[in-house]
């Protein structure tokens, strides 16, 4: 069942652990009751990291990240942005400063980062960015939010995570095939797609009872 968002085209509703989440085709989820935007794996600075290695990543790649982030902040007007790890790909660079400036523009919003394996900037850098740091997973309502999917989820809680960069394969008759990024919600655990443009994807194999929403261009679709 695809329940569309009344204003935002392409966005659909999902029911996860009894909570209403809006899944946006820009690869983010909005938790309406808590006015919280959930984003996983931005991998900011990856483009610049490549450039430093002598690889010319087009500037358009990082611009796209900013455009989408701004659009999400303006569309949902969240009170809180929870970044599920791997915010920043590399050592300190110009893109980090761009990020700090963006955060400044939204000073009523609380930006919080749950540390991931790529987040290794010094602590003062995060403080300067007005970014609240969570070293470990945090619990909010029924959700246990983390970067890595947790190996064990306590009874009665639901783990939301990133890190995987999930995608699925779809097939139709006439031997048609597609590979698309997705939101993957299992029984006790859900994984968000990677937000960052220019990041790879890993195929997940959902089970029968799982909910899977693919991002088909400008549209999120349950499959």
């Amino acid at each position: 069942m695809n329940i569309p968002h009344p204003q935002l085209s392409g966005t659909v509703q999902a029911r996860v652990a009894g909570e209403k989440l809006w899944l946006h085709p820009f690869r983010a989820a909005y938790w309406e009751r808590e006015k919280t935007l959930l984003i996983a794996d931005l991998h900011l600075g990856k483009a610049l990291h490549f450039r430093r290695e002598g690889l010319p990543v087009p500037a358009a790649v990082s611009n796209e990240n900013w455009d989408r982030l701004l659009a999400l902040l303006l569309d949902f007007r969240p009170q809180r942005v929870l970044l599920l790890g791997d915010l920043f790909h590399s050592e300190y660079n110009r893109e980090w400063e761009d990020f700090c400036q963006t955060v400044e523009q939204f000073d009523q919003v609380s930006f919080e980062l749950i540390m991931g394996n790529h987040d290794f900037l010094p602590a003062e850098a995060y403080r300067a960015a007005r970014l609240k740091i969570h070293e470990e997973q945090i619990q909010l309502g029924p959700f246990l939010l983390s970067h890595h999917p947790l190996e064990e989820v306590p009874e009665g809680l639901y783990n939301l995570a990133g890190h995987i960069h999930p995608c699925v394969f779809l097939q139709g008759s006439g031997r048609l095939r597609e590979r698309l990024p997705c939101f993957h919600f299992g029984l006790q655990q859900g994984v968000l797609p990677a937000f960052g443009a220019f990041t790879g994807m890993a195929a997940v194999r959902p089970r029968q009872q799982d909910q899977v929403y693919v991002i088909a261009g400008e549209q999120v679709l349950e499959v």
């Binding site: 010319p56 087009p58 699925v168 031997r175």
Partner: protein
């Protein structure tokens, strides 16, 4: 001849050995000694080496004041495309030189030559250097090269027809242009087997020498008889309709092996080679120890051993790939077996020629079909061989990646002045159409990285000092020397025993499918994967009999235009029941099935079949033009149909035809009425239908690597980060977005059209189709013609439906447990 030349020393030497020079040898001697450049057109095993080695020696005898000197400087360079040939040429040369009383050194320089030997060659140049195009460029990358080459009289390019069809040909042309620029008297000679476009081969090698008229073409005209015998299945009805391995007929190959002193079994892919080797041992265990295998991914050491053993007649059979197409003569080889379609007439003739080397001997070749319809190809091959319809080799032109690499090479050593080099480059065949603007672009590219890359220091390789273009950075120079060459491949994983002994290499994606502890077959051995460490797969011997067989990507050759034409001719004969060939007789029952279910097209007819199955709606079309043309035609027809209404296709093809498969009915009549094969708007439709950007991106990988945009890492220390390997795709994107006029980018599209889509052939095919009568048959189920195509899993896709709409019809692939 205006000038009398003395051929006596050569003739005397021949007589001493009890030989008699062939007329073409005498003609080459005379032309060479009269100062001409030229081309010798002679097959392997006809004594072509002596046609040019002798006059090189005789020239020295006539002109040198001191014949016994040991320091004469470099006299001749002999280029061969493959290292396997070098030893034979060296020993022929060395023997003749010694017996003519010359204290010459004949040296080999290749990728295998040790650094200390290279140093020796530099300090005391050998009189004759046998080497490859890459190594020649490395010499041009060394400081002081003008002095090194100052005494050079000639460059001989052996197997020119092989080099010409690749970018190594362009590399050769550029090196020759520099040598000719320094040495106006230099003689350039080529040796080539017969190909369809001999004139072009000559032009490409001679470049601007052609205008001076100082060249000669010498033809050996040694006829060679080829006997083609097909290995026929007992009952064609029970022979597979599709397939590519040919294992079904393996029992019939054993007696062929047993009857001959030594047999070469040619397969089309390395995986097929592994499979045949393994299966031969299973079917005929007594052959163990007497057969071997040979392909390009096996270590040099192993291949050398196999070649040596073949030479000495120790092996009963060798299963091989095109890795043995060229190379030294293996006199003990009496019989050739070809498994599956050789795809081209010239390749087939070349392979057949690997047996019966004595002049006048008949070459015998057995053809083993891998599926029923391939029997037609045997008949088609026989006809084409008889008619002498050999393929052309299309020379690469305007390969700016090679030019950019060459300019940096010159900048690394002595530095260059554009005013000197420009006319030389312009004088080559490959760059005769280069404009001044394009030349300026190349110079700009190596000095600033070009428009899109200006911001990156990495791409500012060459600096300009007082008009001299030079590389000053030692690091840049070293990196460049490591990268010289035009042969590119994915960085493969090395396969080694735990103890460290190297066995060969394998593609990363294959290894990624197997886990430590799993068994796989490689180089004819059962190996257990122990671990993967630093781009090396460490293995140990396994006793297990079953294991995966690696496959290597690439290498699906299309049926050549010549063979396709011959194939259509034979299908016409089948339609008229003219069954002179035994293969066609054998195939007859199957053709009856095709006739019953659908139709057998005559030469004026064009067959299309439309039917439905559980899988969807199939439209199968039979142009018989080879898979590359079908790739283009398939995309084109899919695109034109998809414009009528939203529809999605998956497209499969083989050498005989292509299939459009859809989940919804295909409006075929409407499409035909609207001119499915019309010439109108053809170029635009082709561009729109194929994913040109995606395909060009794949082509661009090699270009970026040759042009030095991506650095593959130091030897033995390849870059590990996968993300850095995908970097050529990034360059492609950057150029597409910011510098669409980038010559390297345009080259990718040009190569795509010329070599992959074979645009010229595609247009010719459409022209032919328009003159034929379309037969649209509606069989109830798949026909023998359709079967091999519809089972193909490798498919392209094309759709005019919105992604969302397509997704809505699809199902998720669920976990299997």
């Amino acid at each position: 001849m205006t000038q009398a030349v003395d051929l006596k020393p050569g003739i005397a030497w021949f007589e001493k050995r009890g030989w008699q020079p062939f007329p073409f040898q005498l003609q080459s001697w005379e032309a060479y000694l009269s100062g001409y450049s030229g081309m010798v057109n002679a097959p392997t095993g006809a004594g072509k080496t002596y046609s040019l080695a002798m006059p090189i020696l005789m020239e020295f005898l006539q002109t040198a004041s001191d014949r016994s000197s040991e320091k004469n400087g470099l006299q001749a360079i002999w280029i061969t495309p493959i290292r396997a040939l070098t030893r034979e040429i060296q020993s022929a040369f060395q023997e003749a030189a010694g017996e003519l009383g010359l204290q010459w050194q004949i040296a080999i320089r290749s990728g295998d030559t040790s650094s200390s030997d290279r140093q020796k060659q530099k300090r005391r140049p050998p009189e004759v250097l046998i080497t490859t195009p890459e190594s020649l460029h490395l010499l041009l990358a060394a400081k002081g090269y003008p002095k090194y080459f100052s005494t050079l009289k000639t460059v001989v390019v052996d197997e020119w027809h092989e080099l010409m069809g690749s970018k190594r040909g362009v590399q050769m042309e550029l090196a020759l242009s520099r040598l000719k620029g320094m040495l106006p008297e230099l003689k350039v000679w080529g040796i080539s087997a017969t190909i369809g476009n001999m004139d072009e081969a000559l032009s490409a090698l001679m470049g601007n020498t052609l205008e001076t008229g100082r060249y000669r073409v010498i033809r050996a005209n040694i006829p060679k008889a080829i006997e083609i015998a097909s290995v026929l299945p007992d009952e064609v009805e029970r022979f597979p309709w599709a397939g590519h391995l040919g294992i079904k007929l393996i029992e019939k190959v054993i007696p062929i092996i047993n009857q001959s002193q030594s047999t070469l079994i040619f397969t089309n892919t390395r995986a097929q080679c592994e499979i045949w080797y393994q299966n031969l041992l299973e079917v005929a265990p007594d052959l163990s120890g007497a057969i071997a295998m040979h392909h390009g991914s096996i270590s040099r050491e192993l291949r050398d051993w196999v070649e040596e053993a073949l030479h000495e007649g120790k092996l009963k059979a060798v299963v091989c790939t095109s890795s043995l197409d060229l190379g030294v003569d293996f006199r003990p080889v009496e019989t050739i077996v070809q498994i599956g379609s050789p795809k081209g007439v010239a390749r087939f003739v070349q392979r057949a020629g690997r047996s019966g080397h004595q002049p006048g001997a008949t070459s015998r070749i057995y053809f083993v079909p891998t599926h029923a319809l391939e029997l037609i190809e045997a008949a088609a091959l026989r006809r084409a061989v008889t008619e002498g319809e050999l393929e052309s080799r299309i020379p690469y032109i305007r390969s700016f990646d090679v030019l950019v690499q060459y300019l940096v090479t010159l900048a690394v050593s002595e530095g260059f002045r554009p005013a000197d080099i420009w006319p030389e480059v312009k004088g080559t065949f490959a760059f005769r159409s280069i404009t001044e603007a394009e030349w300026a672009w190349c110079l700009n590219f190596i000095t600033t990285g070009g428009e899109a890359l200006q911001a990156y220091d990495e791409y500012r390789k060459v600096e300009v000092e007082d008009g001299l273009y030079k590389v000053n950075s030692r690091r840049t120079a070293m990196r460049h020397r490591l990268q010289i060459g035009t042969i590119t491949s994915d960085s493969p994983l090395q396969v080694k025993y735990v103890g460290g002994k190297y066995i060969g290499n394998i593609e990363e994606w294959f290894i990624s499918q197997i886990k430590p502890g799993d068994t796989f077959w490689f180089a004819g051995r059962s190996l257990e994967l122990v671990r993967i460490k630093d781009m090396t797969a460490q293995v140990r011997r396994s006793k297990k009999k079953k294991g995966k067989i690696p496959s290597w990507l690439g290498g699906r050759m299309p049926l050549s235009s010549q063979l396709s034409a011959s194939l259509r001719f034979k299908i016409g004969q089948l339609q008229r029941n003219e069954l002179a060939d035994i293969e066609l007789q054998c195939l007859q029952p199957l053709i009856e099935v095709q006739r019953e279910r659908s139709h057998v097209p005559g030469s004026e007819e064009f067959l299309m079949e439309y039917f439905s199955s559980r899988e969807g709606h199939h439209l199968v079309v039979y142009p018989f033009e080879g898979r590359f043309v079908h790739e283009g035609l398939g995309a084109l027809t899919a695109y034109r149909i998809s414009r009528l209404s939203p529809i999605s296709f998956s497209i499969a093809m083989n050498d005989y035809g292509f299939e459009l498969l859809s989940d919804s009915p295909i409006p075929i009549e409407e499409a035909l009425e609207q001119g499915l094969f019309s010439a109108e708007g053809l170029s635009a439709d082709i561009q729109a239908s194929i994913n040109a950007a995606e395909m060009a991106k794949r082509r661009f990988r090699d270009i970026a690597s040759i042009a030095g945009l991506v650095f593959k890492g130091y030897p033995g220390k390849q870059k590990r980060d996968r993300h850095l390997q995908s970097s050529s795709q990034l360059f492609f994107q950057v150029f597409n977005d910011y510098e669409p006029e980038n010559l390297l980018l345009l080259q990718a599209y040009d190569e795509l059209m010329a070599f992959q889509l074979e645009e010229a052939r595609l247009r010719a095919a459409l022209q032919r189709i328009r003159q034929q009568r379309v037969i649209l048959s509606r069989p109830e189920r798949a026909t023998p013609f359709a079967f091999p195509i519809i089972v193909d899993r490798l498919r392209e896709r094309l759709s005019s439906e919105k992604l969302e709409d397509r997704i809505r019809k699809m199902k998720l692939q669920l976990i299997r447990d």
